[in-house]
């Protein structure tokens, strides 16, 4: 194990996970590594949960890069350790407690979180818990399968606990590119001109006097099974690829396209997967999460470089990735989420943003976070960072959910995460609506005709036409009826009349 801690002095900090966990006190604010179920601390949170289960009163505010695995979010939720949680989550135990009103959750743009740590907007950060591959001779922390906000956690925390994870492949060393911005008024341009550009170091500089504990663990990343690719997602992918072809023909996109961003999940995976069989070559990605279909694109030589902040394989993709890490390391860069999601870089590169909607309305607003406007699913994540600053922004969704009882195209979304000013294109398995240059009423007709499921089209036209008879005809609404589809669903289990 010697090469894991290359600075002799630090070996005296090695202890058990239980001893390290005892450094976390009631009322602390804790920031951790981890982005998706990748690279998050595991052993110390499990030990902390155990203490709480044994009856100790302990509550913390928890800040992570994004969602993390069950050993952190799940175990600490079930043991009632989490008081407040930022900025994103996907864990069932945690989500249920948020929706029961037991855990306070603030849903934040991921690009904002690292700088909010730097700015002191979360108050004092008592402890950072970060998973590491190794600690270098200079005291640099080498991350594992994600970077997330680890640099800012390390910089801003008063104490640091390091989990060296021996289950992570040593070939990860060198994949990271750590670049840290100054605070205003001393910030300088971020010198990325292409997704392949490396601008930083391969480990995170760390004030080693702050390291309070080092523990060893071999718990693997708790990755999830791959969702199957359904016919509807395949069709969505085809519409998007047709759209890309059209834009290239019109001279509005270069033939290698522009760097692609793709959200997490099965539709997103299918959309990227569709590119494997397309005629596009020499693609690049500037995204958050590098998923299975990206490895296919790299294998096929379609994608030259994928820049992200996390490697997030499925259970099925896990072995393949780990077996060939030496190969994938040449085609992937893991950056801090501040950089992977940075508006400056996204806008400069002209990233094509592709994200998933829960629902969209006829005027092009998108709900990404809350069912019926109240029930939190995961959060906005990085979708806003890319949507707002990209070359254009595409949202995908199946046209219906719950066996057809929910229409994903509604008169008015119950919660707005992306506004009409931000959304360029909406795609369902029914078709694609290009909203660029459209007035609200043009937009409504395009979305209903191209994206809504046929069984809801007449109902949507009926709403639009009656609204257009009202007094204000720019973006016509029948305000007392605008959310009635959601009310009907809550009352009857269906949006159908």
């Amino acid at each position: 194990m010697n090469r894991k801690i290359r600075l002799e002095y630090l070996k005296r900090k090695i202890m058990t996970a239980a001893d390290a966990a005892s450094l976390i006190k009631n009322g602390m604010t804790v920031a951790t590594s981890g982005f998706t179920p990748s690279g998050y601390p595991k052993a110390v949170p499990l030990a902390l949960a155990k203490r709480a289960e044994e009856g100790e009163e302990i509550k913390i505010n928890l800040i992570t890069g994004a969602s993390v695995g069950d050993e952190l979010d799940g175990a600490l939720s079930r043991s009632n350790v989490i008081d407040k949680r930022y900025p994103y989550q996907t864990n069932d135990s945690l989500r249920n407690r948020i929706n029961d009103g037991l855990i306070g959750f603030q849903d934040l743009h991921l690009s904002h979180v690292p700088q909010m740590l730097d700015y002191g907007f979360f108050g004092k950060i008592d402890m950072a818990i970060v998973e590491a591959l190794a600690i270098t001779e200079e005291g640099g922390i080498i991350p594992t399968t994600s970077v997330g906000l680890t640099p800012q956690a390390i910089n801003n925390a008063e104490g640091i606990i390091i989990e060296i994870n021996t289950a992570q492949p040593k070939e990860l060393e060198g994949i990271h590119d750590i670049y840290i911005t100054e605070k205003p008024p001393n910030r300088r341009p971020i010198p990325i001109l292409h997704p392949k550009d490396r601008i930083g170091t391969t480990s995170i500089p760390c004030d080693i006097s702050k390291i309070k504990a080092i523990i060893y663990t071999d718990i693997p990343d708790n990755v999830r099974p791959l969702g199957g690719i359904d016919e509807a997602s395949k069709r969505i992918s085809e519409y998007i690829i047709d759209f890309f072809n059209f834009e290239v023909k019109q001279g509005r996109l270069p033939k290698e396209l522009l760097p692609l961003q793709s959200g997490v999940g099965s539709i997103a995976n299918a959309v990227l997967g569709g590119l494997v069989d397309s005629k596009f070559y020499n693609l690049t990605c500037y995204t958050e999460v590098i998923q299975d279909s990206m490895f296919d694109l790299i294998d096929e030589g379609k994608v030259l470089m994928a820049s992200g902040t996390a490697l997030t394989p499925s259970i099925e993709g896990f072995k393949r990735l780990y077996d060939r890490m030496d190969f994938y390391r040449k085609h992937c860069i893991l950056r801090p989420m501040e950089i992977s999601n940075h508006p400056e870089v996204i806008r400069r590169l002209g990233v094509i943003a592709m994200n998933t909607a829960i629902e969209a309305d006829i005027y092009g607003h998108v709900n990404s976070t809350m069912i019926a406007g109240s029930r939190m699913m995961n959060g906005i994540g990085g979708s806003g960072d890319f949507t707002r600053n990209g070359y254009f922004s595409i949202f995908t969704t199946h046209s219906t959910a719950k066996g057809g009882n929910i229409s994903s195209i509604v008169p008015k979304v119950a919660h707005v995460d992306h506004t009409e000013h931000d959304v360029s294109v909406i795609v369902t398995e029914q078709g694609l609506a290009d909203l660029r240059g459209t007035s609200p009423r043009e937009r409504a007709r395009k979305i209903i005709r191209n994206c809504a499921h046929p069984q809801y089209r007449d109902l949507l036209y009926d709403y639009l036409e009656r609204a257009e008879k009202g007094f204000y005809r720019h973006q016509p609404q029948i305000i007392h009826e605008a959310l009635s589809w959601h009310t009907r669903y809550l009352n009857t289990g269906s949006m159908k009349k």
Copy 2:
């Protein structure tokens, strides 16, 4: 007049406004100079309106920097020349036609519009009409009181009509800093590190072979009277200055603050005006529009440098500005709106965003554009550019409108322009709510307690408490009642019960 056209060859292009207007044909897409009632073309639009009034069938799509004066938006609306309009407006005649459904309007983030011209998202740009102070020996166009999207209009239009406005003070020459970005994938960092940085040229490079007409005019900018500063706006300003003081004490802002952005209008003017009597010195501004109160701050030596894309004095401020242009030119820079509103620069500088809301809801969503979700006021303008990318974002509004019949704090806004993920602080004359780090329910109590008018507080608490008894308690809503305050207002003329 010789020094206005410094390139001999171009003098043969001089003609009357009527002859120049005859180059505009039915169905054309026209992009013009102008941002607020500053620096927009006047004589050619008036001549064009005259043709239409005389019976000629002529419709155009009109793209400007932001709002413009009545000679352009008003005259062309009243003569039914405008078919579609982008991206912002404040003219009564135009607004009424938009709300009557007679003109198609797309409301866009101002930072997006220049690049959308470059990307071809508006289709072919047939003609640019731009007001100029002069044309240089190299064929460069020197703008007047605004820059807006003039560089992109000139670059992308097939033909160019230039209005040389002899009423604009010649001392404007040198105030502009023209920097034009490449298209992706060839974009480079924008090298602004401080609001005072000049990175470009003082005129806009122009392919002079595209110049179809040059006309002379002396119609002045159609500036508006200064709205009085009421007591409520003064109180809002005081709350914000207290907040700045607190943030400086907490070490979260430097004592010179960070560059300020302030929206247009009387509250915005009051907020900046309040700084004249504050203890703050050595301030800078990185904003869109330089208004009267900025001249006060410059006179007092409080503001060292104001960077914007338009000088927008009131009628009262007009003479003062024009009389001392030589002085103000040393303290102001006018940039293209692509740069004044650029996410890269706004985030790098850490701009403090201050904008006005029509209404805000208890969970921190802000409506900036549409009364009751349908009636367009002006548009989102640059508020999203600054809100989304600034150090933090402040929204101001009076707590009530229409003599108390409208509460500006509602259970749910009728249109969302800025989401809960984007809004840091809400201020009314009742107080200030700092939303950083808050869960939705914490936010609701802060906003009701600190910002709502006392006569609406109990009604808002009642809604919140009943909603909290529902099934989903993250962001509790009673979905069939969420917009009932707007319905009540539309039905009874008051939100009161």
